[in-house]
Homo-oligomer: 124 residues x 4
């Protein structure tokens, strides 16, 4: 997908996020092996059981039989936000430092890589 | 979906689970507002960042704009297993005690309800 | 510890909870092998990385070399609240259905058991 | 505490870790406001409910009324390992990029900072 199409898809799904506790909706889209997969955050009354958008997009990717992550897009209507440390670790399970990470706000974009976001990553 | 079709779908997706650390694949299917959504477990080198099948199925449901959980199916090739406590809490966010939970093994099924699995549930 | 002493300890630690996102402090005390261990909830800007009071009390117990959980107390200044499903699972790792669970509010108490809170528990 | 004393304390607690599923014990020690706090990893049959050593040490710090993290030590008997992304996020809640992070193996040490481990951190 081209950059403009990605942003349209991200924006179109922000209303799907379930974020009643934070009021902070997030949408993620991952590109893997020629396909794209979406996720939104899903919060829980017990905060530790909340699920981030990025991890949910990875779960959709895995369900589809894909394992090689190539690019990640994260959208917040409040402006570009980076993935939390937990999501960086989840992304690293299916990619390496070269994975591109694009942080989207309504208009702007910040481009980085997974290697830049999670240096010296923990791996088993 | 009828019970036989559900079990076929569950079995067909067991190979999609990413469970290299536990060797314990799980597939979940949730029924909500006339549609079905799937999830498999997605483990991580950092165990706390692993994601259960049931929660991933709920994330797919939420992404699709559905919020009212009606029935949950969980499949393990090793025989029926109940959802962990964390997943019970996630399911309760989108349903009540009346949600049906069906635990599937390769041949057998155990039927219960979310109310039976998570009595006196925590809610905000 | 007697019931009155437990409630005093619980109340005395409520200010230690770090709950800036929920505004919902919780204190837990676990009894194991003749000793008691405390925990408070520790929230995080990324909600899934928050830590419940009950799990933190269990971590203190494990650090001290204790593995056999006997009784759990949970205190909320807003009145008795049950542990979330995730905490029930964590408690079950170190005890069985017979573990006593006491839910404390400022004045009142609700007594139950882990078996009543997490029937048909998932175990490996 | 001096470096040698820290390593002795770390080593002395490795047997306290509860890591039956990974076989990978970890001990963490955090320094905050002139005191030190320990944590070991506490795994769970449901992997996502496992608790890392670093987060448990932070929980002990918070329980003690401390909020300003200064230095973190992580010990693995298999050699120096970095904190997972989730723990980096938890540490960042109570400190900034200047927090020192020391990764200990039985003999060797790797010194880094939280800012180096979690650049462009997510914050609310």
């Amino acid at each position: 997908m081209n950059a403009k199409a990605v942003k349209e898809v991200l924006k179109a799904h922000v209303g799907r996020a379930y974020a009643p506790y934070s009021g902070f909706p997030v949408v993620a889209l991952v590109e893997a092996e020629g396909e794209v997969f979406l996720g939104v955050n899903v919060e829980n009354a017990s905060f530790p059981l909340s699920q981030c958008a990025e991890r949910n997009a990875v779960a959709a990717m895995v369900l589809a039989g894909k394992r090689r992550l190539e690019r990640v897009h994260v959208y917040s209507p409040k402006g570009p936000i980076p993935p939390c440390g937990g999501c960086r670790q989840v992304l690293m399970e299916f990619g390496g430092p070269e994975v591109e990470v694009v942080l989207h706000g309504p208009e702007e974009e910040v481009r980085t890589t997974l290697g830049a976001l999670l240096p010296l990553a923990f791996r088993l």
